[in-house]
């Protein structure tokens, strides 16, 4: 449970351009095991781009990616998966017509001989959902019948199938009711207790401050401040998001005084 000194994932000087758009410019990010790191920022600040870099959907133009201190190239989502990185994107990518079990094992079905092992998958699905203390009544219901919060639970449970070490959640509480938000936040606490590293991308300062250990602010694709969630105030985080303050402020002032 004690976070080791070598970060699980370390990103250094990640840069990504789309033509004239600077999506990410020299971004650093460290995530340790048993830690929830929140990534916050305005629309277009580069949060989702960074998530896509981590999950192998896009490759950075430059920068260093390390897992456990070893340099890695995450060239594809399956490479990310092999490294133990699991991502839940905003749209969840669930199949509404399939049941909970099929969704959890989609593309990774267990087999017994030549046949798909439904019983075994159902048992594991039930255990994963119980581990998350989820309230999904049945693993046999089709996903289209579940509430938004329950779908989020299925999407999170799916990431746990390959026993990942780092879970990336992109806006998991957007458009959820309070009770559903409460459940998702409890899942995040569970993931942390299970020893996973978690990257939580969210707009909601309340949710972010409730469950994360550290808050990283991105602004225009750049790091714009790091906060200890246990002590940081709303005001200081919002100031960093909106650009009222920046980490360079001190230096700017010093340089100005010098001239």
């Amino acid at each position: 449970m004690i976070s080791s000194r070598v970060p699980l994932l370390s990103l250094q000087q990640i840069t990504k351009r789309f033509g004239a758009v600077e999506a990410l410019v020299g971004v650093d990010l460290d995530v340790y095991a048993h830690q929830v790191v929140a990534l916050v920022g305005d629309n277009g600040a580069g949060k989702s781009t960074l998530a896509k870099v981590i999950s192998g959907v896009i490759s950075p133009d430059s920068g260093l990616v390390e897992m456990d201190g070893v340099a890695q190239t995450i060239s594809s989502p399956s490479a990310a998966h092999a490294l133990g990185i699991a991502t839940v994107f905003q749209d969840l990518a669930l199949c509404g017509n399939l049941d909970v079990t099929s969704n959890i094992f989609l593309g990774r079905e267990l087999t017994a001989g030549a046949f798909v092992d439904d019983g075994q998958m159902e048992q594991i699905a039930r255990r994963l959902l119980r581990d998350l203390t989820s309230r999904i009544p049945s693993v046999r219901t089709s996903v289209s019948e579940l509430s938004a919060g329950q779908r989020q639970a299925v999407a999170i449970a799916r990431t746990l199938v390959g026993s990942p070490r780092l879970v990336v959640l992109d806006e998991p509480t957007a458009a959820l009711s309070v009770a559903q938000t409460a459940e998702v936040l409890m899942y995040i606490e569970r993931l942390r207790e299970l020893g996973h590293g978690v990257i939580l991308i969210s707009h909601n300062m309340n949710d972010v401050r409730a469950v994360s250990d550290r808050i990283e602010v991105l602004r225009h694709g750049r790091n714009n401040g790091t906060f200890d969630a246990a002590t940081a105030s709303y005001e200081s985080i919002l100031a960093a998001i909106t650009g009222a303050t920046s980490p360079q402020d001190d230096r700017v002032r010093r340089v100005a005084a010098f001239h």
Binding site: M1, I2, A179, A182, E183, L185, M186, N206
Partner: protein, 398 residues
């Protein structure tokens, strides 16, 4: 053979009751999925439980089809218990049988704001009511537990600065306006004490002290089976006994209070050098998992709290000290040094030695106490909407 058959049936029955409990309410088809039992078995057992008055069923629809919603049977009137803690909000619905029907916990940010937290509490209450197929009309009252001393007459926090931004706020008014029912506000240690004395570790004793070791430390005092809150609700605030005259300033305005020495900030601070940044929950989990550093700071907190509780024990002479709150989840890691510290300081008593035990209701104690306080404060039978149900209740009592 028939013996194992009936044992199986009994186990299935238990499984169904437990599942309905966990979900609040769900249809028979969902029950089959959730338990892994066949729909026929579920249907048979639900019929039995319905006849025995354990569950209720009502018609509902699921994806356009008619379905039978199964809920735990409840007596007339629901109560709501809310515990607004330092880092989490817990809401529970209970009925007159003191059965908790539905429950939800929401993690809260550091120094969470009054307006947001009360708003979320109110929304959670309505959503939980929906979950068990009920509405605000059925609620007879709401009990709120706060980690601060509360003046019983006004329901307001009676010491400034205990919860930043919550001073001078009439919390009861804010929520009763939203939910349209009476709201009772009390200190969480007092409500924990009530719960433990009615249903927990102190239920066989008339005089008890409940120690709540959490982000801060508080105590609830039960004398002659009644909770003693004091004139302004500050009785038992052992977190604010001065232990170090040269210590740090406390949020209450005094210097060197117990909370500055064993509060969450002090415990996490003590481990920062060796363990990095931890939360209070991490320390508790670490102590349970046998981490020596975590266990050590909790044990030291235990003996330090015990010193102050000893004073309370000498003043009140209770039969039992019940230790609850997050730190008590470590069991004897906290309780053993706490017990030792008390025993060294109180008068040895030949008649019935003082017992120091861990709480039985765990982290649900405060909301259970809040539910209990609602039923004690309201005449809930008078609000029965259905005279037939009242009549049936009357017969059952005869």
């Amino acid at each position: 053979m028939s013996g194992s058959q009936s044992a199986l049936r009994e186990a299935n029955r238990g499984l169904i009751i437990e599942t309905v409990h966990r979900h609040g309410g769900l249809t028979q088809v969902e029950l089959a999925g959730a338990t892994g039992l066949s729909t026929a078995t579920v249907s048979t057992i639900v019929k039995e439980l319905l006849a025995a008055g354990v569950v209720d069923t009502r018609n509902t629809t699921r994806s356009g089809r008619r379905a039978q919603m199964v809920t735990i049977a409840r007596r007339v009137g629901l109560a709501v218990g809310i515990h607004i803690g330092v880092r989490q909000l817990r809401v529970a619905l209970g009925d007159a049988t003191r059965e908790v029907l539905a429950e939800q916990t929401l993690p809260l940010p550091h120094e969470h704001r009054m307006d947001t937290s009360l708003d979320r509490a109110a929304l959670l209450v309505t959503e939980l009511l929906e979950r068990v197929g009920s509405s605000v009309d059925e609620v007879v009252g709401v009990g709120i537990a706060l980690p601060a001393p509360v003046d019983a007459a006004t329901g307001m926090i009676s010491v400034r600065g205990m919860m930043s931004g919550w001073d001078e706020i009439h919390i009861g008014h804010v929520l009763s306006k939203r939910l349209g029912c009476p709201v009772f506000v009390d200190n969480d240690a007092n409500l924990g004490a009530l719960a433990e004395s009615v249903r927990g570790a102190a239920r066989f004793f008339r005089d008890s002290v409940f120690v709540r070791a959490s982000y801060g430390t508080g105590a609830g005092i039960v004398l002659g089976s009644q909770v003693h809150v004091g004139f302004a609700g500050t009785a038992g605030e052992i977190g604010h006994v001065q232990v170090d005259p040269d210590g740090q300033m406390c949020r209450c305005g005094s210097r060197g209070c117990r909370d500055t020495v064993v509060g969450a900030a002090a415990l996490t601070g003590a481990l920062r050098e060796t363990h990095g940044t931890l939360t209070l929950r991490d320390i508790v989990q670490g102590a349970i998992d046998g981490d020596p550093g975590c266990a050590r700071v909790i044990a030291e907190a235990g003996s330090s709290i015990g010193v102050v509780v000893a004073g309370l024990v000498i003043a009140l002479n209770p039969q039992v000290v019940v230790v609850g709150g997050e730190l008590a989840e470590t069991g004897e890691v906290l309780v053993a040094p706490l017990r030792e510290a008390i025993r060294q300081r109180v008068l040895p008593n030949q008649i019935a030695p003082l017992e120091v035990v861990a709480a039985e209701l765990g982290e649900g104690a405060e909301v259970i106490g809040a539910l209990e306080s609602v039923f004690r404060s309201t005449d809930f039978v008078a609000r029965s909407a259905d005279p037939l149900v009242m009549a049936r209740d009357g017969e059952a009592d005869d």
